[in-house]
């Protein structure tokens, strides 16, 4: 089974713990092997068994969506981002107040007063900046903001022999392959989508016939 590097990367970016990711990787591989063996035992070809195992296991989107509903699987820093900001603020304040404290200990009253006033101003400014950053970070999701760009990926899919998708008599699609794509990441999803297409069967002399020769371009527009 090709390892689900993209899924693992997405989950890692979302803050899922490394322990979970390692286990998921191993267990998905194991599960895939079991599914493949089950399909082979049902006398399917290796290619069919592999395809069936992949489909039954589910695509990256389904697994990632399920993961993201469980916040308890995320690192604490992703679960309580406010804690990180509070911790940072405390460290800042400690560092800034260290200088006037040193002055006070040496009994240099004037220097201490001046430093305290200066450092308090800096501390307030930092607190303000950190609060602003926090508001921006946990504000509305990026997709809701006015400014975002769209990244476009295209996958052309077709039947291997005719360079076109073959249509079965029922109107279902078979033997889909990718002819060209701008990014291999989207090929699997494009193939899955193509198998869901349903065409009106071509009818000649009252009989529906198979139509080799349908090419389709699937476009993915992703907000980035």
């Amino acid at each position: 089974m090709p390892r689900r590097r993209e899924l693992l990367r997405r989950l890692s970016d979302a803050g899922i713990t490394p322990r979970c990711l390692l286990r998921l990787d191993a267990e998905l591989q194991d599960h895939y092997v079991d599914l493949e063996r089950e399909a082979l035992a049902a006398e399917k070809s290796v290619a069919e068994a592999s395809e069936e195992a992949w489909l039954r296991l589910g695509d990256d989107d389904a697994i990632a969506a399920e993961f993201l509903t469980h916040t308890e699987l995320k690192l604490w820093i992703y679960r309580w981002p406010i804690a990180l900001y509070c911790l940072g603020l405390i460290v800042w304040l400690l560092l800034i107040l260290l200088s006037p404290l040193q002055g006070l200990l040496r009994n240099r009253a004037a220097v201490a007063r001046y430093s305290l006033a200066l450092c308090s101003s800096v501390a307030l400014l930092c607190a303000l900046l950190l609060s602003m950053q926090f508001i921006v970070t946990i504000g509305p999701p990026a997709t809701n903001t006015a400014a975002y760009s769209v990244e476009r990926h295209e996958v052309v899919i077709a039947d291997p022999s005719s360079s076109l998708i073959a249509r079965e008599r029922s109107g279902a699609v078979k033997d889909v392959v990718v002819i060209e794509s701008t990014d291999s990441l989207f090929e699997h999803a494009a193939i899955e989508a193509a198998y869901k297409f349903k065409y009106r069967p071509r009818v000649i002399r009252g009989e529906s016939i198979e139509v080799p020769g349908v090419r389709n371009k699937i476009t993915f527009d992703i907000a980035v």
Binding site: L24, A26, E27, D34, L35, L57, I63, E66, F67
Partner: protein, 112 residues
């Protein structure tokens, strides 16, 4: 009146997993097969999604995982904890209350 749990459907996989694992410990693939056969294939799911549910239940302390080597393959077996047994009892009661209510509503004459 007992409080209704709005996303009660979200508790169904948890209920099924706990119900099946209380009988015997299982690994992921085995568990999915058990879900299919015990529900008469009524619940179809992408099999990979069972793992996040299992990890979350383990994080909440209702399941525990243990690695076991079987026929040369290293598998992770899941079993129900004492907390999981209490959770199963509560989920079962909640589910029976909800399904009982729905059944009563469906059987009520003149409301079809």
């Amino acid at each position: 009146m007992a409080q209704t749990n709005p996303p009660f459907m979200s508790g169904v996989p948890e209920l099924l997993i706990l119900r099946l694992l209380i009988r015997q410990q299982m690994y992921g693939y085995e568990l999915v097969r058990a879900i299919r056969s015990s529900t008469g294939d009524a619940i179809g799911l992408r099999e990979g999604v069972v793992y996040p549910a299992l990890y979350a239940m383990e994080a909440r302390g209702t399941l525990k995982a243990r690695r076991k080597s079987v026929n040369g393959r290293n598998r992770v077996y899941y079993a129900v904890t004492a907390k999981g047994k209490r959770r199963l009892t509560s989920l079962t009661e909640e589910w029976q209350r909800v399904t009982g209510g729905v059944r009563t509503a469906l059987e009520e004459p003149g409301r079809a």
